[in-house]
């Protein structure tokens, strides 16, 4: 019965999108991967030379490591700062929820250039942080925050925070409130109840939040290139530089393939963990 809902054959309705994605998404990614194994564009040869070239260069290895490190730092910072936001949101009275939703979603929906621009104003030489520090007499000279790794990590954490908060809110709203009440009546304190009950039950949400934050952080281009300036290089900036500025497209393809592999490895590892935690919850 269900299968005949739309008759004649409703699975055919998925065909246009499937064809579209194969033409303009799967095929381009295949071409990209293929060109990362070529020495010169158009030549049908297969070589690992460009991968060798990437890993032989200490600068490139540092860029790869810095990118991975940025992803880990931002993910952990988002978890630390995002979990309480989700917790407060889930336990907030209904009349507060509207305002909280607005506060959480507005930064997510405003343009990423605008958000990054905000951080330039905050971290710059004449920015908020430096005005504050100098006004309080803590430092004489403006301190350097722009064009540093910590500056990028701070800005990225703020920008990615909603991606951590939303899945955790979804996870928290599925927990039976009677569980916490049961724990409290059995003498479990607030901290104990949180670590033994609430936190483990929200692991699926935490893991999907971490997955999103990590993947988007290591792939983002705008914020690291503006806050990092030319001084600090991450994988996407390197791809842009090789592919667009230096017109070395097949090497840019190689770097993209390496970044893609890094994201996929982390995503698969985390989603395996996620599957296990979901089995634990049910």
């Amino acid at each position: 019965m269900t299968a005949k809902l739309f008759a004649p054959r409703e699975w055919q309705l998925a065909l246009p999108l499937a064809i579209f994605l194969h033409l303009f998404y799967v095929a381009p990614l295949a071409v990209l991967l293929a060109s990362s194994f070529q020495t010169a564009p158009g030549e049908p040869s297969f070589t690992l030379a460009q991968y060798g070239q990437f890993f032989q260069d200490a600068v490139n290895r540092k860029v790869l490591l810095d990118t991975f490190w940025l992803g880990v730092q931002v993910t952990l910072a988002c978890l630390l700062f995002g979990y309480p936001v989700a917790y407060v949101y889930a336990n907030a009275p209904a009349k507060w929820k509207g305002i909280l939703t607005f506060l959480i979603l507005l930064p997510l929906l405003t343009s990423s250039v605008v958000r990054t621009f905000g951080w330039v104003v905050i971290l710059g030489r004449q920015g908020l942080v430096n005005s504050l520090l100098q006004g309080l007499g803590i430092t004489q000279e403006p301190i350097r925050l722009l064009f540093t790794h910590p500056g990028v990590a701070i800005a990225m954490t703020q920008i990615q925070l909603p991606f951590m908060v939303l899945p955790i809110v979804a996870s928290l709203s599925q927990i039976d409130p009677r569980l916490a009440a049961a724990s409290a009546s059995l003498g479990g304190g607030a901290w104990r109840t949180f670590w033994k009950i609430t936190f483990p039950l929200t692991l699926p949400g935490i893991i999907s939040g971490c997955l999103l934050v990590f993947a988007i952080t290591v792939s983002s281009f705008v914020t690291p290139s503006i806050i990092g300036g030319g001084q600090i290089m991450y994988m996407p900036t390197l791809i842009y530089q090789q592919g667009v500025v230096l017109l070395n497209r097949s090497f840019a393809a190689t770097i993209s393939a390496i970044l893609l592999a890094m994201v996929l490895i982390v995503v698969f590892a985390l989603s395996n963990l996620g599957q296990k935690s979901r089995d634990y919850v049910h």
Partner: protein, 280 residues
């Protein structure tokens, strides 16, 4: 005697436990919420600065940077290109996404999981790799860059939002109403336009809104797929900020922030935006 002291101190410990938990949770949450809104608020304030350079806090209030925008034709043409690209992207996403969601929601076959993974994967894969891939692909095929190539690439990265919210609506809707319509003799097209579509409208609108914003804001893919004639707004703004910290960028940002906030309130009224984002 001794039992009372023990009880009293354990009662205090309980209180301390509860208090410390509340303080830590609320403290971090309030701090995070302030940090979350800080850049937006700061940009909004800085855009009304009367100073010639970007400094914070601003020394005085003026609308000079907003007025300066009128004399900046490249910016307006970039904004028009962005709007065109975002509207076409949203339209194509809605048509392709709603069709695919109907098929996916109605079936439990194995291909649905594969299709779901395919449609959602652009969310997690690096946009810059996708952009470079599509550029390489088009140059192999000999296709020249234009608004069309820009829109095609935007559809790829915006489609996940549409399918996700539409699928959520369809699953929530269930099949009974559609079955009833079919049983009563309505044709599949009639059922779709008079029963299904009005009932999943909210999901489609929310997904369309997300797709529109994602397309309008995209840099990583647009960077590869647009040329000088099809320059989009975020790229123009990016170069304004990157090169010389043009304060006019603050004025455009101010307009974008207010527009986004108004759109959000409107969307919340129409479709219950937060319902989809928080539950997805």
């Amino acid at each position: 005697m001794s039992t009372t002291t023990v009880r009293a101190s354990s009662g205090q410990l309980d209180k301390l436990d509860r208090l410390s938990f509340g303080w830590v949770m609320w403290g971090i949450a309030i701090f995070s919420l302030i940090i979350l809104s800080l850049p937006t608020v700061i940009v909004l304030i800085a855009s009304f600065s009367s100073a010639q350079t970007l400094r914070f806090p601003p020394t005085g209030f003026s609308l000079q940077w907003y007025l300066a925008l009128f004399d900046y034709p490249e910016l307006w043409s970039a904004a028009v290109t962005s709007l065109q690209a975002a509207l076409w992207t949203t339209l194509i996403c809605i048509v392709l996404g709603v069709c695919a969601s109907l098929a996916m929601a109605g079936s439990r076959a194995r291909w649905v999981a594969a299709m779901d993974a395919l449609v959602m994967s652009p969310l997690a894969l690096p946009g810059i790799a996708v952009g470079l891939g599509i550029l390489t692909y088009f140059s192999v095929l000999g296709v020249r860059l234009s608004l069309v190539t820009l829109v095609l690439s935007h559809v790829v990265i915006c489609i996940p939002y549409l399918v996700r919210t539409t699928l959520a609506s369809l699953i929530q809707l269930g099949t009974s109403l559609r079955e009833a319509s079919t049983v009563l003799g309505a044709s599949p097209a009639y059922t779709f336009f008079h029963v299904t579509l009005p009932l999943i409208k909210q999901g489609v609108i929310t997904g369309g809104f997300m797709a529109f914003l994602t397309s309008f804001d995209n840099i990583t893919v647009s960077l590869f797929l647009s040329d000088a004639r099809t320059e989009v707004l975020p790229i123009r703004m990016w170069s304004m900020i990157e090169n010389d910290l043009d304060v006019r960028a603050a004025a455009i940002s101010g307009i974008l922030i207010v527009a986004t906030a108004l759109l959000m309130v409107l969307m919340e009224r129409i479709s219950g935006l937060s319902k989809f984002l928080v539950k997805s």
